[in-house]
Amino acid sequence: MSISRRDFIKDHAALAVGATLTPLALQDLFAAPALTARVVQANLPSAKSGAEADHVLRALDRGMEALLQMPGKEAWAEIVSPRDIVGLKVSCLAGKYFSTHSSLVQAIITRLVSIGLKPGQIIIWDRLNMDLQGAGFTLNQNPQQALCYGNDAAGYSQALYEYQSACSRLSRIVTDHCTAIINLPVLKDHGIVGISAGLKNFFGAIDNPNKYHDSCGDPYVADVNMIPALRSKVRLTICDAITAQYEGGPPFMRQWNWPMRSLLLAKDMVALDRICWTIIENKRSENNLPTLRDAGRYPSYIHTAALRGLGTDDLQKIEVIDV
């Protein structure tokens, strides 16, 4: 059944507002500042194990429709065109137990192909081939299927890219191979920068992330994301929070990992990170852990990213939709 965009909005607008995580009384709606960013939390049904492909696909579809406020195919067509070469930036550092789920990647590929992209126009990528393999992805250079390789296989730009504190070479996957990027981080606590979600995931796009860990990554994380050659290609972030971790990151630490069973979708990466930060703080509080500020790793880079104009970190201006 196909639904037109207008029908979709008419049918879903009330539901979306009603399902907002921070529901507002009608009179408050008029007084509240204008919402400028939207973050969708698309939930998977609770299950004992894993990221079952059909559940993930359905959550993805609900999430995209709520985010773009239009039916699935149209929503995807808003993000990429059939002519794009789309890079799917996964997060694989933490290995098979705590990386972007392959079922999420597969679900996205299915939807991209449904709007006319060929599998060979899709590149699954991260820093190292070894990391991708460790997370369960199969390296592939055959365009009959989605391509999959690391920066170590692609190499880095010869040119240096600078934005204020950042000065790096970019992965050639960013500069030469892709025309659009969909960011697929995982949600986790991070031992140096506080939290790792959308913005931090692009440390995997540069040659020298080790140089940017001082002062909790502030302003480096923001500045890397401001590099125009990267920023201009990032279309969407879908944070894999099927499992998430509130302490001990970035490696997988079973005792602090929990099955959140959600996908978090946003076009505004700063807004997404701000919501992710709240989720991690809430979970830390539930588990009697100190706040990230008290733990000495306050993720101030998120606010810096907002100041740079990358998005909004003002919770009053972020609409959170739970579907």
Binding site: L93, A94, G95, L128, M130, D152, G155, Y156, S157, Q158, L160, E162, C167, R169, G191, I192, D207, N208, N210, K211, H213, D214, G248, G249, P250, P251, M253
Partner: protein, 376 residues
């Protein structure tokens, strides 16, 4: 292909001409890059402590990085794997070249010697004016490298009849385990070793190195914490501490100061620096003021005017320093060594070449004043 690889190719051509090409064959180099990443082939780091939850604290340089499992330190060449800290560059030089020792520069250390010079990826600071950023700011997997264990490197040095091995181009502190093992083996067969360093290292590893190295050159990048913070991403004080330690350890060392217009060329700063050297290290430590050329992230700053270098030399001489040089200015009289007592010309240099060396048994041939250094 990145500029760093082109740089290596240039090195490769030089090496090939000198007969080192067997080490540089492409398949072996590619293989080296991949094998470097396998844990069972890595060498454990020597200066770190284990922390709870598979974290570690690196104790090699003043940064003392605290590193989670799977992460690397600031230098990018040391990695925590399951709570054990590894060096990723042991036995993996990315550059191998034969240079005159004057290029380091070391002017009072075996003048005219050839130094088999090696580097790996990585650096523990982030200078905006780095000349070798293509290797120093890279991670090991981003550069082709060789498989060259210490014994093999020492054997190669002897085969090439080089009296010195120099650890240079990138910051050798970050490959300290490799450097130490090479130096220890080289010492056993009468080959000298020299570390060309920023001095950003903790006391314990530096003391250990002093037992096996023959000479050290320290790049003192400025005499202000502001400069170190803004242009180096480091701190001055640990470098000064290293210099004092080198003096205490009685190892031969020289100091290089790259003079950058408007950044570290203030006469008061230079005067304070020279007075500090005189007081803490003594008048006989050679000090090289070298000329800056626009590089890396500092392309908007002009090259150092010759007058600035001359003025810097004058300030140092006025402070009582006896061996003050200018560098990166071929043909300048500031390249030569003069007797500290009678001003006799002792070593005449043209760029990196020695035109004349009149020092006999470490003394001025005219007035017999001992000239500090390692002369044979």
């Amino acid at each position: 292909m990145s500029a760093s690889v082109l740089y290596d190719r240039r090195e490769f051509m030089t090496c090939a001409a000198g007969g080192l090409c067997f080490l540089m064959a492409a398949p072996a180099r590619t293989k080296a890059v991949h094998s470097a990443m396998k844990t069972d082939q890595l060498v454990e780091a020597r200066y770190y402590e284990k922390l709870p939850n598979r974290k570690i604290k690196c104790l090699l340089c003043p940064r003392t990085c605290v590193i989670d499992d799977l992460e690397r330190g600031y230098c990018g060449v040391r990695e925590n794997r399951d709570g054990i800290y590894y060096t990723l560059v042991y036995g993996k030089p990315c550059t191998l070249h034969i240079d005159p020792i004057e290029k380091k520069p070391l002017f009072h250390f075996l003048p005219g010697s050839e130094a088999l010079s090696i580097a790996t990826a990585g650096c523990n600071v982030f200078c905006k004016f780095c000349q070798n950023w293509e290797i120093s700011q890279s991670r090991p997997e981003q550069l082709p490298s060789l498989d060259l264990a210490p014994a093999k490197l020492v054997a190669l040095t002897r085969e090439k009849k080089c009296p010195v091995i120099a650890f240079t181009y990138n910051e050798p502190v970050v490959f300290t385990e490799y450097m130490y093992d090479i130096a220890e083996k080289a010492r056993g067969v009468g080959v000298h070793t020299a570390m060309i360093s920023n001095g950003y290292i903790q006391a314990k590893p530096l003391k250990d190195l002093c037992r096996v190295l023959s000479a050290v050159k320290i790049d003192l990048k400025a005499f202000s914490e502001r400069f170190y913070k803004e242009l180096v991403s480091g701190q001055l004080q640990p470098v000064l501490d290293s210099l004092i330690l080198l003096k205490q350890e009685k190892i031969w060392f020289e100091i290089v100061y790259l003079v950058i217009p408007g950044q570290n060329d203030d006469p008061h700063e230079l005067s304070s620096l020279c007075k500090w050297i005189y007081k803490e290290l003594g008048p006989g430590v050679p000090l090289h003021f070298t000329r800056f050329y626009p590089q890396y992230r500092l392309t908007n700053v002009p090259a150092t005017p010759l007058q600035t270098l001359q003025k810097a030399r004058q300030i140092a001489q006025d402070a009582g320093l006896q061996f003050v040089y200018s560098g990166n200015v071929p043909g300048d009289p500031g390249e030569n060594t003069y007797c500290s007592k009678c001003s006799e010309l002792l070593i005449k240099r043209m760029g990196y070449a020695i035109a004349e060396n009149r020092i006999k048994t470490g003394q001025c041939p005219k007035c017999r004043t001992p000239i500090p250094g390692v002369w044979k």
